[in-house]
Structures are given as structure tokens and as C-alpha cells.
């Protein structure tokens, strides 16, 4: 997560994480993820509902989820106790400083994530829209 954060920072944007468990779960997540940036939580899922992020059994338990779980397991990831709502899916939103939504991605199932390359591009666009570009790049 720190590596991705650094890629966004180079484009002038910041990675902010929002979970859905109790606030006291944040520190453990920070340690496991090795992430030093901002982490928040919305235990009542108000933002998740407002953003229409999926929350249902089908998105949590499906063949596609099983495939992603096997890949994650092979990569050394282990599911520990669930801290938050296990049926709540996530998503990614990239915003400029005036609140313009530059990019959105709503996970369809557990393990469904956007490409980092797409997020880096969106971060660049958001920074340009904000007038806060990071590094300069050759055209």
C-alpha cells in the first residue's frame, strides 16, 4: 500500500483509506498493511451506502471470489478475523480539490480491484484539475 501511495504522491495526490469496522481496528490494520498514511472508518456505512457500494451475499461468496481468494492465499495473504462488515464491498474514488469526481470504481465482488495504472492516471488528472501537479512528465 505504501508503494501505491508513493505513486499517487508523485502525481500530487494522496491515498486515504476508509474502512467500516470500529475505530480501534484501524491500528491493527495499519500494522498488517504496513501503511503509514491516513486511515479512517465509517462503522455505520453511511458513506458506503451513499456511494452505492455493493453489500450482499452474492458479491461476498461467489466463484469469482473463490478464485481471488486462492490467488491471495498463494501470495501469502491469510484471512484473519473479520473486523467490520464482511458483506460490504469496497471501491475507489479519485477526487480533485473542488470535489470533482475524476474516477470511480465499485467492486463487484470480494477481490475485485481496479488497476493501479488506472488509478495513477486518475491521480494525475485530478492533480491537473486541482492545479497541484506532482512531478513533471515528458509528453
Amino acid at each position: 500500500m505504501n508503494r501505491e501511495s508513493e505513486a499517487f504522491e508523485r502525481e500530487g495526490a494522496e491515498l486515504v483509506v476508509v474502512g467500516n469496522g470500529a475505530p480501534n481496528f484501524i491500528e491493527g490494520f495499519r500494522e498488517r498493511a504496513g501503511y503509514s498514511g491516513r486511515i479512517y472508518t465509517d462503522p455505520e456505512l453511511r458513506s458506503h451506502k451513499a456511494l452505492e457500494l455493493r453489500r450482499d451475499v452474492r458479491s461476498t461468496l461467489s466463484i469469482r471470489t473463490l478464485g481471488r481468494a486462492v490467488s491471495a492465499f498463494r501470495g501469502g495473504n491469510r484471512q484473519t478475523s473479520v473486523q467490520g462488515d464482511a458483506m460490504q464491498q469496497g471501491g475507489v474514488f479519485v477526487l480533485s480539490t473542488d470535489g470533482e469526481l475524476v474516477y470511480s470504481y465499485r467492486s463487484e465482488f470480494a477481490g475485485d480491484h481496479p488497476s493501479i495504472a488506472d488509478l495513477v492516471k486518475a491521480a494525475r488528472v485530478a492533480s491537473q484539475a486541482s492545479g497541484t501537479t506532482g512531478r513533471t512528465t515528458a509528453n
Binding site: A13, G19, G21, F29, L53, Q83, Q89
Partner: protein, 37 residues
Amino acid sequence: MDAIRDIEIYGDDGETVRLGELWRERPVVLVFVRHFG
């Protein structure tokens, strides 16, 4: 993102922050994770 601008979320010390504050100074990549475990 008017739908979420005024929603308050919590930091690890229990302090609250309005979501709209997160992108006020810099653009953000706002990642909603499934859960913390």
C-alpha cells in the same frame, strides 16, 4: 461528491472528520476497503 461531503467518519483516536475535508487541500485517491481484518 455532494452525497458524501458532509458525512463524518472516524480516525483511530475516535476523532471525527467530514469526508469533504479529505480532498480540500490535495486531490485524493479514496480507497474504501472491505473490512479491516
